[in-house]
C-alpha cells in the first residue's frame, strides 16, 4: 500500500507518532508541502499583495460573527428590527459582535476591491491565470449577493427600500420581469416572506458557494503559481540542481509571516472603526436604517451602501437622453470599429446584425431596461479582462503611457461614480455620472485596441526590486 511506503513524519517532537499515523491515512504532509512549505511564491511581492490573505481573514471574521448573530436574530418582519436592537442593547457583547459583522462587510469590499485593483495593475489575470480571475470574479458576485441579502435583515428603512429598488430591477426584464420579481420576493411587495428567504440565502446558500469558490480560487492559484509586480513567470528560471524557481520563496514561513503582519495592521484599523466609528459617518451603517421599515413611506434620500454606489450611479445615469445621444451612437461607433478591425466577412456580418438588434432595442425599450443592462454590464465586464487586455506585457511597470492614463482615469471615475451614488439626484450630478459612465465603459471596450498599440517596455528576465 502507498500509505505504508510513506516516510515517518519527523521534526514534530512528541507529535511525530500521531502525525505519521494521520499521514498514512490522509495526505497531510503532501498537502502541507504543496500549498504552504513548498509552494514557491515570487520573492518580490509588495504592499498590494496583502489583500488576498486579508480578504480571507475578513471572511473568517464574517463567518464567526455571523454564527453568533444568528443565535439572537429573528428573521421575522414583526421582530427583526427589535431583535437587532436587542442584540445591540441587551445581549452581552452583542453590540461588539454586530459591529464587527457590519464593519467586516465594508472591510471585505475594501480588501476585495484593492485585491482586484492589484490584478489590474500587474496583469495578474493574464494567461494562464484566466480561470483564477474568473473564480475571483464569481467570489466577488457572491460577495455582492451576500451583502445585498444581509442588508435586508435589520429591517430598517434602508434595508426595506434598498431591497425594494434592487428586486424591482428584475421587473425591468421584458416579458418575464414582473413574474420573476414576484418569485424573488415571494410576495407582491418586499415582505416577511422576502426577509425569511433572504435570511436563508445570507446564512447558508451564498456562504456555501462562497467557500467552495474560495477553495477553487486557491487551488487554481497554486496550480498556475502566483504572479508578481513584474508580471514575469518565476517558473522560467529554475535552479538546475533543485528545480526550484530562483526567484521564488516558500509561502511558509516567508509569506505566512508577512501576511500575519498585514493581519495585525488590519486588526488595528478594524478595531478603531468598530470601537470609535462603527457607522463610519453613515457610510458603513446608514442613518435611515435605524428607523424600522415602513412599507408606506420611502425615506427622503435613499442610497445603497458605499460598495454598490458606482454601479448604482450608472443605473441612475441611464436616462432617455443618455440612451439616445450616447448609447445609440456608441453602439454604432463600436460596431464600425469592430468591423474595421475584423477580417472575416462572417464575423463582420455578425457584428452588424448584433449592432442593429441592439440599436432597435435601444430605440424601442424603456431607458429603465437599459439602466439595468448597463449596471449588470458594468460588473460582468470584469470577467472579460483577460481577453480585453492585449498588451504584450502584463505589469503596469512595463506598459505604456496610454494604458497608464486609462487605468488612472478609470480609478478616478470609479471613485466619482461611487461618490455620486451616495448623493441625491440633481441635473449637474446626473451629467457628471453620465460622463463617468461613458469613461467607465470606454476603459473596457477600447482596451483591445489601446493596450495593443501602446508602447510597452521590454519585460525583464527575472523579477526586480523596486
Amino acid at each position: 500500500m502507498a500509505g505504508a511506503e510513506k516516510q515517518a513524519v519527523t521534526g514534530a517532537g512528541p507529535f511525530n507518532g500521531l502525525l505519521t499515523w494521520i499521514d498514512q491515512r490522509f495526505p497531510l504532509v503532501e498537502t502541507w508541502r504543496k500549498h504552504l512549505s513548498e509552494y514557491y511564491a515570487p520573492k518580490n511581492f509588495n504592499f498590494w499583495y496583502y489583500f488576498g490573505s486579508l480578504a480571507l481573514f475578513v471572511l473568517v471574521i464574517q463567518i464567526v460573527t455571523g454564527i453568533f448573530l444568528t443565535m439572537n436574530y429573528k428573521p421575522d418582519a414583526a421582530q427583526a428590527f427589535a431583535s437587532v436592537e436587542y442584540i445591540m442593547r441587551e445581549v452581552p457583547w452583542g453590540w461588539w459582535i454586530r459591529y464587527m459583522h457590519s464593519t467586516g462587510a465594508s472591510f471585505f469590499f475594501i480588501c476585495v476591491y484593492l485585491h482586484m485593483f492589484r490584478a489590474m495593475l500587474y496583469g495578474s489575470y493574464r494567461n494562464p491565470r484566466e480561470l483564477l480571475w474568473i473564480f475571483g470574479m464569481l467570489i466577488f458576485l457572491c460577495l455582492m449577493a451576500e451583502a445585498f441579502f444581509g442588508y435586508l435583515l435589520p429591517w430598517g428603512q434602508m434595508s426595506y427600500w434598498g431591497a425594494q429598488v434592487i428586486v424591482n430591477l428584475f421587473d425591468a426584464i421584458p416579458l418575464i420581469g414582473p413574474d420573476l420579481a414576484i418569485w424573488i420576493r415571494g410576495d407582491f411587495v418586499v415582505s416577511d416572506a422576502t426577509l425569511n428567504r433572504f435570511f436563508a440565502y445570507h446564512v447558508i446558500a451564498v456562504p456555501l458557494a462562497l467557500l467552495a469558490l474560495v477553495v477553487a480560487h486557491l487551488l487554481a492559484l497554486h496550480e498556475v503559481g502566483s504572479s508578481n509586480p513584474d508580471g514575469v513567470e518565476i517558473k522560467n528560471v529554475k535552479d538546475p540542481k533543485t528545480g526550484k524557481p530562483l526567484d521564488g520563496i516558500p509561502f511558509h514561513p516567508y509569506y505566512t509571516v508577512k501576511d500575519t503582519f498585514g493581519v495585525v495592521v488590519l486588526l488595528i484599523v478594524f478595531s478603531i472603526v468598530v470601537f470609535f466609528a462603527p457607522e463610519a459617518g453613515g457610510y458603513f451603517l446608514e442613518h435611515n436604517n435605524f428607523i424600522p421599515a415602513d412599507p408606506l413611506k420611502t425615506p427622503a434620500h435613499i442610497a445603497p451602501v458605499w460598495y454598490f454606489t458606482p454601479y448604482y450611479s450608472i443605473l441612475r445615469a441611464t436616462t432617455d437622453e443618455f440612451v439616445l445621444w450616447v448609447l445609440a451612437p456608441g453602439v454604432v461607433a463600436f460596431a464600425l470599429l469592430l468591423v474595421w478591425s475584423m477580417k472575416k466577412s462572417t464575423a463582420r456580418i455578425a457584428v452588424g446584425v448584433i449592432a442593429i438588434v441592439l440599436l432597435a432595442g435601444l430605440l424601442n425599450l424603456d431607458a429603465k431596461v437599459w439602466g439595468v443592462v448597463l449596471m449588470a454590464t458594468s460588473v460582468m465586464i470584469f470577467f472579460f479582462l483577460p481577453w480585453l487586455d492585449r498588451s504584450p506585457v502584463r505589469s503596469i511597470r512595463y506598459k505604456g503611457p496610454i494604458t497608464k492614463t486609462a487605468l488612472t482615469l478609470f480609478v478616478i471615475v470609479f471613485f466619482v461614480l461611487g461618490y455620486l451614488g451616495t448623493e441625491s439626484v440633481t441635473e449637474g450630478r446626473t451629467l457628471a455620472a453620465q460622463v463617468g459612465t461613458a469613461v467607465y465603459f470606454l476603459f473596457f471596450f477600447l482596451m483591445p485596441w489601446y493596450s495593443k498599440m501602446d508602447k510597452s517596455l521590454p519585460e525583464p528576465e527575472r523579477v526586480t526590486w523596486k
Binding site: V165, V167, W183, G186, D187, L296, T298, T426
Partner: protein
C-alpha cells in the same frame, strides 16, 4: 500497462505489436476479462501479435460512430459510452473494446432518466418560492371611508402591502392638471392600459370622480414611494412646478393625476388600482364594480 490514446483502433494502428492490440480483437469474454484486469494480464489471455484482419474489424466498429454522427457527436458518444472520455490523459483503466453495448445503452438511458428526474425535482423547490396561499389571500379588497377627507388632503391606505393614495383634489388642482398635459409623457393613459389604468379611469384626471384621485403610491421606476409636493410653486427640480409628486430615489415627477413627466426615469404613470364607489363616502379598493 494501460491502454492510452484515442480509440482502440487508433491504438491498434500505432501499436501493432502490443499485446493489447491483440486483445482488442479478442472475443467478448476475454475482452471483458482484460478490462477487469486493466489490460495488465493480457499476455496470458491474448495471442501475441495482432491479426491485421481483426484490427480492421475493431477499427470499423469504433470509427463508425464518428462516421455516422460526425466528429462532435462521435465524441459525445465516445464520452457517454466509454470510460476513456479523455483519451490522451490516460484516465482509462480498461480497454474500450471491452464495452458491453447493451449495458452501456442501459447506463445512458438510466442516466437520462435520472437527469430528467433531478431536473424535475427542482420544480417544487422553485414553486415553493412563489407567493403562498396566505400572501395571495392578503390581496383581498380594502374598504375605505373617505368622508373625513377635506379638499386638498391626501390619505394613505394599505392594499396588498402597498400604499394606496386617495387625494381629494380642489378645483385649482384640477385646473393645474389641465396645464400639465404638454409636460407629461402619457397624458391620455394609453400605455399598458389594462395593467395601469382601468377603463373607468382612462380620462384626463385618471379617476372615476374628478375630485378623488386613487392611485398606488409606488413609483413605476424601481418601486419607491414618491413624496407629496402638492402645492404649485418653484421647486428645486422644476421652477414651474404645478403640484404633484416627487420620487426621492431617482427624481421622477408625477402630476396631480399621477401622470409621469417626460424624460424621467419612471416609464409609466402611477397605477390606478381597481376600485369602486360603494356609496358617496365609501370606496372599495382592489375590486371593480360587479358586472351586473
Amino acid at each position: 500497462m494501460l491502454v492510452r490514446g484515442g480509440s482502440p483502433a487508433r491504438y491498434a494502428r500505432r501499436n501493432p505489436d502490443s499485446p493489447c492490440t491483440a486483445i482488442i480483437a479478442q472475443n467478448r469474454r476475454a475482452r471483458r476479462l482484460a478490462a477487469a484486469n486493466g489490460c495488465s494480464s493480457i499476455s496470458s489471455l491474448g495471442r501475441p501479435g495482432g491479426h491485421p484482419e481483426s484490427i480492421v474489424n475493431s477499427q470499423s466498429e469504433s470509427m463508425s460512430w464518428t462516421k455516422k454522427f460526425g466528429r462532435a457527436r462521435g465524441f459525445l458518444y465516445n464520452f457517454a459510452l466509454s470510460d476513456n472520455a479523455f483519451p490522451s490523459q490516460g484516465f482509462s483503466m480498461s480497454d474500450q473494446s471491452g464495452v458491453n453495448r447493451g449495458r452501456r445503452s442501459l447506463v445512458i438511458a438510466s442516466a437520462c432518466a435520472g437527469g430528467a428526474a433531478t431536473v424535475a425535482t427542482a420544480v417544487p423547490f422553485a414553486a415553493s418560492m412563489l407567493p403562498s396561499e396566505r400572501a395571495e389571500a392578503l390581496g383581498a379588497p380594502v374598504e375605505v371611508d373617505i368622508g373625513q377627507l377635506n379638499p386638498g388632503e391626501k390619505m394613505t391606505v394599505e392594499w396588498r402591502g402597498q400604499p394606496v393614495w386617495i387625494l381629494r383634489r380642489t378645483k385649482e388642482m384640477l385646473e393645474e392638471i389641465k396645464q400639465t398635459d404638454g409636460k407629461v409623457a402619457d397624458p391620455k393613459s394609453e400605455r399598458k392600459k389594462g395593467e395601469l389604468t382601468p377603463e373607468y379611469a382612462r380620462n384626463e384626471f385618471r379617476s372615476i370622480k374628478p375630485e378623488y384621485l386613487v392611485v398606488v403610491g409606488i413609483c413605476t421606476h424601481l418601486g419607491c414611494s414618491p413624496q407629496d409636493r402638492l402645492k404649485a410653486g418653484p421647486e428645486a427640480f422644476d421652477s414651474q412646478w404645478t403640484g404633484g409628486f416627487y420620487c426621492p430615489c431617482h427624481g421622477s415627477l408625477f402630476d396631480l393625476a399621477g401622470r409621469v413627466y417626460k424624460n424621467k426615469p419612471a416609464p409609466d404613470n402611477l397605477r390606478v388600482p381597481p376600485y369602486t364607489y360603494l356609496s358617496d363616502t365609501r370606496i372599495l379598493i382592489g375590486e371593480d364594480k360587479k358586472r351586473a
